[in-house]
């Protein structure tokens, strides 16, 4: 009960500073005309062909509507793009930079913002900003407790969901406590990506929400005085499950796709993903059996948004702005939510859309394994980044080196 109120409160606070007026038409016209003919280099993680295909589709729309070409620069890690903008700044490249648009969130955003590597604020002046569900989805303006302040624009919502094969596991454990019992009763059938991998730390956050006496302390930076005592329940939980993990906790998958592959290969019975539609999409793509279903934990699971940001030295800033606005377009958002395309949750407020645009979303078949919006449960806010840095550091010391 407390948590519900707490979330609501945060949402209101977060929404307050973002009441700036949308950009007036003439200014946007100028952006559009400058953008025409530009090629936007969009640096985005390239590990998922479905996302790459989606970006390619967006590129086609951008070309048709605005004469803007999108080149996706497929990254193995978003940090590559951050490092390259930093490298450009160090080399004195203050304009004409290689990166026009970055798919970004969390620590990468915090680092770039702190280093002054971002152009902005721009997000709240985008014409489509008015459609964004700031009140209902506070994560669109709060990236890991850090207010985005218009330096990045959201384009997809994500929430942690657990995936399981109902053919092998008829009734999954629906709380952290029962998950622990299940892990101990079924040794070798559960694991999580190795922190500091993002999905791995997300699991730790979920454990924190389920075990900490008062999870709301994580919305403020770490207090060194009480830290050890506060997080002790996390280690207690992990100490209990670790010997019963996949490979007895002597090896971990490296990231979310690797965990997904383990589920597909039948090496584990429960996996998890940040994309509620992933399982359905993977079933449709023939990568997972039809019997896979998803569930969330009682009390909610971690949720956050994906953003795009524009580096301070982007060579094609106008084009990047046009693309950032375009991906907030209802048609594009509806396509992203289509499980056969991406299955990402929209950042838009469906109530604010025209009936015609809403119909696009209503028409979507969410897929056999995807939970309906009312089954998803609450989306828990990301903790302050300092918590995850500390916890994943400690994890590395406790479990991440072989001794």
């Amino acid at each position: 009960m407390f948590r519900r109120h707490f979330l609501l409160a945060t949402a209101c606070i977060a929404a307050l500073p973002h009441l700036g007026a949308a950009q007036t038409a003439p200014e946007w016209e100028a952006v559009l005309s400058e953008a025409r003919g530009q090629t936007v280099f969009w640096h985005a993680w390239g590990g998922d062909p479905k996302i790459n295909d989606f970006i390619a589709w967006v590129s086609g729309v951008a070309q048709d509507r605005y004469g803007v070409t999108i080149e996706q620069v497929k990254l193995a890690s978003t940090a590559d793009a951050v490092a390259r903008v930093l490298g450009e700044r160090d080399a004195g490249v203050t304009s004409g930079g290689a990166v026009d648009l970055i798919w970004i969130n969390g620590e990468n955003f915090a680092a770039m913002k702190a280093e002054g590597l971002l152009h902005g604020p721009f997000a709240e002046s985008l014409p489509n900003w008015g459609l964004v569900d700031v009140a209902g989805k506070p994560a669109v303006v709060t990236d890991f407790t850090l207010p985005t302040e218009g330096f990045e624009s959201p384009w997809a919502m994500a929430q942690l969901v657990f995936e399981y094969d109902s053919a092998r596991l008829p009734e999954p454990p629906r709380s952290l406590a029962t998950l622990k019992d299940w892990i101990i009763a079924n040794p070798g059938r559960f694991t999580y990506p190795q922190p500091p991998d993002y999905m791995g730390t997300t699991f730790l956050k979920q454990v924190a929400y389920g075990t900490l006496a008062d999870p709301s302390v994580m919305q403020a930076p770490v207090d060194e005085a009480t830290y050890a005592e506060t997080v002790a329940p996390i280690w207690a939980f992990l100490d209990e499950i670790t010997p019963h993990l996949w490979r007895e906790g002597r090896a971990y998958p490296q990231n979310e796709p690797a965990l997904g592959q383990l589920l597909a290969d039948g090496e584990v019975d429960i996996g998890f993903a940040f994309n509620p539609g992933r399982a359905s999409a993977e079933i449709a793509a023939g990568n997972l059996p039809e019997s896979v279903r998803t569930f969330t934990l009682e009390g909610g699971t971690i949720g956050n948004a994906s953003f795009v940001a524009i580096p301070f030295n982007a060579a094609h800033r106008a084009g990047a702005l046009v693309v950032a606005n375009l991906i907030l377009d209802p048609e594009v958002q509806a396509r992203a939510q289509d499980p056969s395309v991406l299955g990402f949750q929209t950042v838009l407020n469906l109530a604010a859309l025209s009936p015609q645009d809403r119909a696009r979303f209503d028409a979507l078949d969410l897929g056999i394994a995807t939970l309906a919006p009312d089954q998803m449960g609450p989306a828990l806010l990301e903790p302050h980044a300092s918590w995850m840095t500390r916890i994943s550091q400690d994890w590395v010391e406790r479990y991440g080196v072989a001794q």
Partner: protein, 558 residues
């Protein structure tokens, strides 16, 4: 025209500058920041709890894989050379030289994982496994999966290097001589040929050792993760989004460099011991006749094992590229689908094109420089010393992690970074040593009296080069070109860094995809990665055979 010989004379120096310049500039670019923040970064590095295990892991997997790869290579030559099995193995392994490390590692991972192909083929009928067993085969803390992957990938390289070096060691006659004195074939090889052969093989072995200790892509896929190898950890640090670990990454890269140097020095010491041991065997009248059948068996088994690991792994990936649903424990996919190929078609075509353009320009540059050097050496009777050879190997000995970031900074400052041409130029650094090494021996073995005869007929040196030597060396030149293509196609880190992520080749795409674990797409990319160099090698065989089909003296018929 009269100035031409003078220009040619500059070729060796120019080539060395092109090779060494980037390495030295890159090293400085990496080292200086590391030194400037020395105390803090070094402290952080030393306080990382995984440092000891990670360093030990790097050393262990590097040394073990080099010892095993060298042993298998020598065993193959010692006990099988000249046999039909050897010829078959050689044909099987040569094209595998071009398989990028990442593709080989991913293939191996699918092969040996508890849910992998081997387990699937045996389940459930032989093993009773309905779900994959919980066995720590991949990413094992001991690094054995990584060692196996490195061995499988390096044996083809060492074998081809050894085969290229053998003719210069007068191996056949020496070996026959030892055999007439009663030594079994393997012993004859060990005593009479090995010392001379190893002298030729030393630098390739060092390159393998340095690579094994610093491999990143393979270590990420096959190696343990708690902690990973030092080089893999350095890349993790480099990629850390908080940017706070760049200093520690640089310090780690420097430590990596010194670790490689130290291990190379130890290895050198090991060489001396091994040589003593061999001499003792020889002078104590060991003939090795009893061991011969066992050695033969071992050679066959290990050679076939390496070929199996690579071929089966890559076939597995190829199969994945056309697989529909493929669950454990099915040995074959439940359904088939060309969806991946249709979906990835455009991207594949685009990156294939980019890959080819870069590989062809880098190879053409490397070939031109190599030919200019060799021709200058011939016309001006230059004698390259051992030092020149070491310099030639420098780009293969210095860990890429240690000099490429600095080189990227340099490219950025010059404003050339991110262009395919700059990527091709950076590839030359890695392509040239291989092209030179594979072309030098046959080029130098050319009968100089042919040139003298032609000069006596009034032919100019240029005419001799273009109408006699080049056509006669066509096969060797094309083979060296194919090797160059293969090396360029497999480059990951230079393409990523110098290309600034904007130059997408098959390999950067495949490695980016590998972080997503999508075996189907990885399979499609790996397949093309293999096919391109294979086409090069096929061309090197077929074109001379076609052109000189009526010329028995060119030795292309048989």
């Amino acid at each position: 025209m009269r100035r031409r010989p003078g220009i040619l004379r500059l070729a060796p120096g120019l080539t060395l500058v092109l090779l060494i310049g980037p390495v030295v500039a890159g090293l400085l670019g990496t080292l200086l920041p590391a030194l400037s923040s020395r105390a803090a970064a070094l402290g952080e590095l030393l306080s990382w709890p995984g440092l000891g295990p990670a360093l030990w892991l790097s050393v262990k997997t590097g040394v073990m894989s080099t010892v095993l790869a060298l042993a298998i290579t020598l065993l193959l030559i010692a006990s099988l050379q000249g046999s039909r099995a050897f010829a078959a193995l050689q044909h099987l392994l040569s094209p595998l030289l071009s398989v990028p490390h990442a593709a080989a590692a991913l293939g191996l991972a699918f092969l040996i994982a508890p849910s992998g192909w081997v387990a699937r083929a045996l389940s459930p009928w032989a093993t009773g496994w309905e779900v994959p067993p919980d066995l720590l085969v991949l990413n094992d803390p001991g690094g054995w999966a990584l060692t196996l992957g490195l061995v499988a990938k390096e044996v083809p390289f060492l074998l081809l290097m050894a085969l290229a070096a053998l003719p210069q060691t007068d191996a056949a006659r020496r070996r026959l001589q030892a055999q007439t004195l009663g030594a079994a074939p393997s012993m004859a090889f060990a005593v009479a040929v090995l010392p001379a052969l190893y002298r030729q093989l030393r630098l390739p072995v060092y390159a393998v050792l340095a690579y094994g200790m610093t491999a990143v892509d393979m270590a990420l896929i096959l190696g343990p993760s708690r902690p990973p190898t030092l080089s893999a950890q350095v890349v993790v640090w480099m990629n850390d989004p908080t940017l706070a670990t760049r200093g520690i990454a640089a310090a780690g890269a420097v430590l990596q460099l010194f670790a490689v140097l130290a291990v190379l020095a130890l290895w050198r010491g090991g060489e001396v011991l091994a040589r003593r041991l061999l001499l003792t065997f020889a002078t104590h009248g060991l003939r090795g006749r009893k061991a011969e059948p066992a050695l033969r068996g071992l050679a066959l088994a290990s050679g076939a094992g390496v070929a199996f690991v690579l071929l089966a792994g890559l076939s597995g990936l190829a199969l994945w590229s056309v697989a529909g649903l493929w669950s454990f424990p099915d040995a074959l996919p439940e359904s088939w689908s060309l969806r991946i190929w249709a979906q990835a078609g455009d991207g594949l075509a685009q990156s294939t094109w980019t890959t080819l353009v870069i590989a062809l320009s880098a190879t053409a540059m490397a070939l031109a420089l190599t030919l200019a050097c060799l021709e200058a050496e011939f016309r001006h009777a230059l004698r390259p010393g051992d030092g020149a050879l070491v310099l030639l190997y420098l780009p293969l000995l210095v860990p890429q992690v240690a000099f490429l970031p600095g080189l990227q900074q340099l490219a950025l400052r010059l404003g050339v970074e991110g262009t395919p041409l700059a990527v091709a130029a950076s590839h030359v650094v890695f392509v040239l040593p291989y092209v030179f090494l594979s072309l030098a021996a046959p080029w130098r073995a050319w009968d100089g009296r042919i040139a003298l005869s032609a000069h006596a007929l009034g032919a100019t040196p240029d005419r001799v080069f273009w109408t006699l030597r080049l056509p006669m060396m066509l096969r060797a030149v094309l083979t060296a070109g194919a090797v160059g293509l293969a090396v360029s196609i497999g480059q990951y880190l230079p393409t990523l860094l110098i290309g600034g992520g904007r130059v997408e080749t098959l390999t950067t795409e495949a490695v980016a995809l590998s972080s997503g674990g999508n075996r189907r797409l990885i399979g499609a990319y790996a397949l093309i990665q293999m096919i391109l160099p294979a086409l090069g090698f096929a061309l090197a065989l077929l074109l001379p055979a076609l052109l000189f089909r009526n010329r028995r003296g060119m030795g292309v018929g048989a």
